[in-house]
Symmetry: D2
Subunit: 346 residues, 4 copies
């Protein structure tokens, strides 16, 4: 089968690879229908994630059709249409049983990381019963792909961890796909104001269409002053960091009000400075989280009810065989005005 | 009246000062019965807190008797015995009404900071109705003094913010008075293990008497390894920082397990390094808090029920007129084996 | 001044009454601008509330202008436009300090109950600083009146107590003003389905316009079956009782699913049957609440942000001097297709 | 093998039954080491539970040794010592994944109910990986048996659902084993007062030894008055119903204070009267729950840490072959001063 293979830092190839087979009774093999590319895949290609070995098929998102289910799989059968979660959950370990499958002893984020992933014609999914979701009838395929990772990530790490409440003022720093996913799902809780901050006017324009009440281009270095002006000098209730850099985490610390929350979503490659000399007395809560994807059923309900429209996040479509072109587009997101790309296994 | 007056960095004097008078209708003047010295007072004397002007009477803890109550005070009358909260609460501003009087627009921590404090024969208490508590009959005076600041601080900033739960493993870094207050109140929630870490064997011995299940002297640099050994390599559920230094905050980051909490109590004078390159994916919650002292009624109930014995924290007694000697003892806490000192206005 | 006076069961008159004066330093006298009539006023007129003595001026909602503020009032001054909360809060008692001013020792629901109310040209408001709210510039007066009682009641007793979450299925039993207020504010949390049940097709049509996803006329006795069909036999996550009768509380018990919530808003005049023989094992939470009106600031923010449009609840306008006509209209709500009526003191 | 078999209302026999075998790959067969009798077993024998068919082996508690594990069992192996949960959890269905395995689609409370139970030499446990727990080294066998049902029931349905907090006043109505389990675990949260109410002086004496601060014999009909006197007329923060009768639920309604909780544990055979005409405005929360046994790991930690001593609940020991005698003793608990009995498979 065709698959996108990581061949070491800077190197990726569309290769012919063996079709995966069942290994454990709780596995399923899924024929991919649609997949996508994640910002994390670009990190891998830079060589930032040492857990990813050369030879690995990338990708941890997508939908497909059950090709074969192991004897221990009870909830899915050949032919079922399924949503693949980016988090593989054994459902038995302490972490899984406490709602934190991101740290599952046998799973977690393993797809396209420590085992082969979804940017291929087929993928093997361990613990299929608790790592896949049935796709409801009448669901839109493209929308479903957004539920594998980007929407639960924005919602769990940003919105839930940030404790967004009705009437709140929320700032989202970073208007890439994950920041926009936080923007869409923050609106579940009816904040009064959502300020989105980025360096890219195009992305800010998108944020405005997605429900931001104010957008701030921080190129001029005046973002803090602008947010303070918008909040009568009090700072925001919730600051969501959706970039993963020291400067953006710093910005969050400067704009959060007393009693507020900083919810980190960004993948950080280096340590940051925490201003405890100022914040020790400010009654602040700072959270981090690798997505657990435990809210996928909730998100499915909101999508099927028409309350969340994930397709807004999709800007480009490609055939799976054109995945190198898709990487080019996604890797030059600013120039290409790309958010999420869909790859179809035709 | 006699009072301990701050005369600029490094300078304090026991002076004759004018007795305070009512200023606003909601004020009360309290004749002090007992007061104490806080670690924060030592910070002030080092010149670390620029909000404290020379000429200020220090102190934000104690009990006393209402000498005079303003016309707008409805809950207290001359002669009532009262507990003075370190936090002055107007009860009307948004912060007060949301349970965060530490940031009260007209109050907060002002005693011995921006207005004259309790290390004196008399003190003026603004918003007396909501900044004082009646002392129950049969209450022990010394125990009550511990409820002004140290116990709500350990409980709110350490235990509540750390979300201590039955069965948890809790580490408390720093066995000074506030760390020990966290140790006493953490036991409200029946954690399975409480590990206390300090450099001072005497304080660790006290921690053992107060309920620590393990004490670790971190002088040898092996604290992280020891905590990991005690937790099967998983780290602790809750790490409470009760020192206020970069090194102790670093230690908390190294011992907290996935899904765990770091509750900062320490007053930090400088920024610290936050290892988001490691913690971004560890589902960690970090909290800071200036004590709100909203749990004083709860703590009073537990003390009166015999469930919390605050007198354990008291090691020395002095007359108020010997306050300079008391500062010497408290300022050399290690050598003097001092925790909290009580000053009585005889 | 003109006022609507209760003269015993079944009797009300528009009378000339003395203008109220300040009694305590914390009082304010407010010149009424707009008020309204509550379903509770009809209960009073039936003689259902023995706390209301003959001679009482009714009404506990409205907006006005500060006519005179006592010496102890610090947050309002003559001429300020204010929103009157139906709950009077001393802000000092244990109940107030724990966020439950509905049970304030000196306040609570007293307006138009144990002291004279707002259906008059002037009203005395005790504890003005914490029982009034400033009206923001650009606010719509009619909308503000809905924040005195009906919206906090629907939100706190129905939506918050019911723990409405994104993706939930919510049933609201009763489409009168308070049920509709719950319907409007339930949407703060983006439930997937909101089923509104009533006997009146007109009110159900309004519910449909206000955001109900399904409306059910229960006249045919098939409401339970219809709700079960809509929920695949599992029952609803949240059932909000907004009527106050045994039959509607029974209905809630029949449609709530395992793990669900029944949030009672209705004012009940008689006991009901609780089916513990069925529910003991169903992991149900049942709540009751007299509105605390602690969410008024939050609701103000959502209104000013355009996220909540309270004017939808208003169907009729009258001059205050036509209040008897207004009572006729409101008392025949079905025939008159009346929801809330606004009375203006011209 | 020997087993206690239900032969219809009023009839039970110690019979020779076939040893159970694996049926599904996720099953384990456990050789029983110790089991016990539950109040629910007495209900079954009265014919109160129509789900239990004649011929059923009773029992849903105990510890044992893995005799055989199915191919799909990954966490247990032949020879492992295990604690059997009264709740069987598939870990895959929506209920299990939301922390409510009591309503598991394929499990829940099935042992000794819809499938054969633990009062036998061997038992088949479905979904063994998520329905059994490893017994820690050094654990006391008798203590472990108390973790199958009685302690999680008292803790989850009574203490957690009742939201017991430090400083609270808690009333427990019923001092049978489950009421005493609530009493032991309520102390995890350091309430100031725990009032235990029962008709049996012996059980009240036990309650006193287990930590009740006041015991009330309600035979004289003065329980409400006594509780009100103990709470300055305000009522209790938490009332735990541990009997399952209309009269005891009525008592809970009479003693609960404004803002309080009624946590129902009792198995009710008939409906009760709910006094909404009084409680509608009292901001009360009423909860029901079939135990989920999701806190078993937490309880294990507290037992192993010496914070909870379950053996206090055990009054009698028998050989499994003497189970009929054990039923006699347990069925005449008052006369025999029996709490929990242990049956050992020697």
């Amino acid at each position: 089968m065709k698959a996108l293979v990581y061949r070491g830092p800077g190197k990726k190839q569309l290769e012919e690879m063996p079709k995966p087979a069942l290994r454990d009774a709780t596995d399923a093999v899924v024929r991919m229908v649609k997949t996508t590319i994640c910002g994390t895949d670009l990190h891998i290609l830079k060589g930032d994630l040492p857990t990813v070995a050369a030879g690995r098929i990338l990708g941890h998102e997508g939908i497909g059709i059950i090709e074969e289910a192991g004897a221990g799989v009870s909830r899915f059968h050949k032919g079922d249409r399924v949503l693949i979660s980016c988090i593989t959950a054994c459902a038995k370990c302490d972490y899984c049983r406490h709602g934190m499958p991101s740290h599952c002893e046998a799973g977690g984020w393993i797809l396209g990381n420590t085992i082969d992933g979804t940017q291929a014609e087929f993928v093997r999914i361990p613990f299929a019963d608790t790592s896949l979701y049935p796709i409801p009838e009448n669901a839109d395929d493209d929308a479903m792909v957004m539920l594998s990772d980007i929407l639960p990530t924005g919602y769990e790490c940003g919105v839930l961890n940030g404790s967004v409440k009705p009437g709140d003022t929320v700032a989202i720093v970073g208007a890439g796909p994950v920041g926009l996913a936080a923007l869409l799902t923050a609106q579940f809780y009816t904040p009064a104001k959502i300020i989105v901050i980025d360096l890219d006017d195009n992305r800010l324009a998108v944020a405005g269409q997605f429900g931001a009440t104010t957008v701030v281009n921080s190129t001029d270095g005046l973002a803090v002053a602008k947010v303070m002006a918008l909040t009568a000098g009090q700072g925001v209730d919730v600051a969501i960091e959706a970039v993963g850099m020291a400067a953006t985490f710093e910005l969050c610390q400067e704009i959060v009000g007393a009693g507020g929350h900083i919810a980190n979503i960004g993948v950080h490659g280096a340590s940051v400075t925490l201003h405890l000399e100022k914040l020790w007395s400010q009654n602040i809560t700072i959270t981090t989280r690798l997505v657990d994807a435990v809210t996928t059923p909730l998100l499915l309900k909101t999508v099927m009810a028409g309350k969340l429209r994930p397709k807004q996040l999709i800007t480009h479509h490609f055939a799976l065989t054109d995945i190198l072109k898709a990487y080019d587009t996604f890797g030059n997101a600013g120039r290409e005005r790309a958010l999420k790309v869909i790859l179809t296994n035709e």
